[in-house]
């Protein structure tokens, strides 16, 4: 097994120590940073995502693997920056104004990071202005909004309406998710996609990735 294959394997097993060690080893062996990231870490998380989708593993395994991924990423990040290697894209994410639920949104952010996207997590109770100001400032291609209540869902429409007013609609992609949401509602408010969970958010943002 190559060091990269071993790295992917250890990530899937959810062993952060081994992942950190193998990442260090790969760096020391002068393996291309992008290869370590794509073929080691992201590839490992991608297998995890597929297995989760197929109900072969459950949430705790995904999250253990994510922790291992972060252990490798911590070592790669400064090198990626130094070499000017871009991420797959930037996503702004947050729970909408009035909503304090954030576990679901956190899980989605973790999965997106695991898929190699740069995620800027604005936390919860995020105003429409803050979503869009940050998306503009950070030049993010995707804005992800989470809501767990029917009473906070309408804020998503406010964000999209404001995006239209600011001329950002069509330039940024808007994804929405959360228990009371549906693809019909997403369509109704003009969102680009409804995502049922973290895996579908990753699939959707990957699909968009070719665009920005």
């Amino acid at each position: 097994m190559t060091v990269i294959q071993e790295l992917s394997e250890q990530l899937q097993q959810g062993n952060p120590k081994n992942v950190a060690e193998l990442t260090r080893q790969a760096i020391n062996e002068n393996i291309d940073i992008k290869t370590i990231l794509d073929k080691g870490l992201i590839a490992g998380m991608s297998v995890i995502g597929e297995k989760f989708k197929a109900h072969e593993i459950f949430l705790p395994h995904v999250l253990l693997a994510a922790k291992a991924m972060y252990a490798g990423m911590d070592l790669l990040k400064p090198l990626l920056l130094k070499e000017g290697i871009p991420t797959r894209g930037k996503v702004i994410i947050g729970s909408v104004q009035g909503d304090l639920h954030d576990i679901g949104k956190n899980l989605v952010a973790i999965m997106l990071k695991g898929a190699g996207f740069e995620v800027i997590d604005l936390g919860n109770d995020v105003s429409p202005e803050k979503f869009l100001d940050t998306a503009e400032k950070e030049n993010a291609g995707v804005v992800g909004m989470s809501a767990l209540l029917t009473t906070t869902m309408p804020v998503m429409k406010k964000v999209i309406d404001l995006a239209r007013a600011r001329g950002l609609y069509g330039k940024k992609r808007f994804i929405v998710g959360g228990a009371p949401l549906s693809s019909e509602y997403a369509k109704e408010i003009g969102a680009d996609a409804y995502c049922f969970d973290g895996v579908s958010a990753v699939e959707t943002v990957k699909r968009f990735a070719g665009i920005f």
């Binding site: 459950f58 999250l63 252990a71 899980l107 029917t150 228990a179 009371p180």
Partner: protein, 237 residues
């Protein structure tokens, strides 16, 4: 009657099976050692950080009429209305397991301990449900003691946001019950802080009044359908 309870955490420790189920792990599957260990650790943290507190207050049917309506956004066919209209006794309630457990969940996520953080979140949600159940049981026992509950009666609780009862009713629940006394606050989106809190009404009455099918327009949006088990348990009791 209006009473505040500091409930012993030992009385609301969630069973490991329900914590795993809340993480999407079916009850019939035997989880691996690591998952089991995470669940056990989460339950230990729950024991350390949860501070279950509840408030319960009896209310007349006439007073509840006003609260139930909320902002006038209830589904026209909600089963809650016909049930409470036929009830013998009613009590408002609110519970929380406190902010410190939510803070611990955030800390775990900040430390990249996502699996344990998520497991603790599930344990906390289950523990909140058990705390609400504790209050319902207390009220049942109280009714027995004062001779208003016999083997023809049953008791169930309902919460705004479920079964076509709109969340806006919480505003009036808060005005009457004042859960601020146990540090629960309600924001303008009808969200309580701490997050792991539940509000609602406990209804006591003849067993038959509680039976309904889950075929209402809003049932298709409900992801839990726990009414099935709750009604069955009530009828079987």
């Amino acid at each position: 009657m209006r009473k505040i309870f500091n409930i012993s955490v030992d009385e609301v420790i969630p069973p490991i099976g329900s914590v795993l189920a809340a993480q999407g792990i079916p009850l019939h599957l035997k989880p691996d050692e690591r998952t089991l260990h995470l669940a056990e650790e989460a339950i230990l943290l729950f024991r350390r950080y949860a501070q279950p507190t509840g408030i319960v207050m009896e209310i007349s049917r006439d007073d509840f009429d006003v609260i139930y309506v909320g902002d006038g956004k209830n589904a026209t066919d909600s089963p809650v209305e016909p049930i409470y209209k036929l009830s013998d006794d009613l009590a408002l309630f609110a519970i929380t397991i406190d902010e410190s457990i939510c803070a611990e969940i955030s800390k775990l996520f900040e430390r990249n301990d996502f699996a344990l953080g998520s497991m603790l979140d599930a344990a906390a949600s289950e523990g909140a449900e058990l705390t609400a159940q504790w209050i319902e049981n207390f009220y049942g026992k109280h009714l027995v003691k004062i001779g208003r509950f016999n083997n023809k009666n049953d008791i169930l609780r309902f919460s705004p946001g479920y079964c076509g009862w709109h969340m806006s009713a919480q505003k009036k629940i808060f005005k009457t019950l004042r859960p601020e006394d146990i540090d629960i606050e309600l924001n303008s989106s009808f969200l309580m802080k701490p997050l792991k809190s539940i509000s609602g009404i406990i209804i006591s009455g003849q067993k038959e009044i509680f039976e309904f099918d889950d075929t209402f327009s809003f049932c298709k949006d409900c992801t839990t359908h726990t009414c099935r088990d709750r009604i069955k348990a009530a009828i079987d009791r």
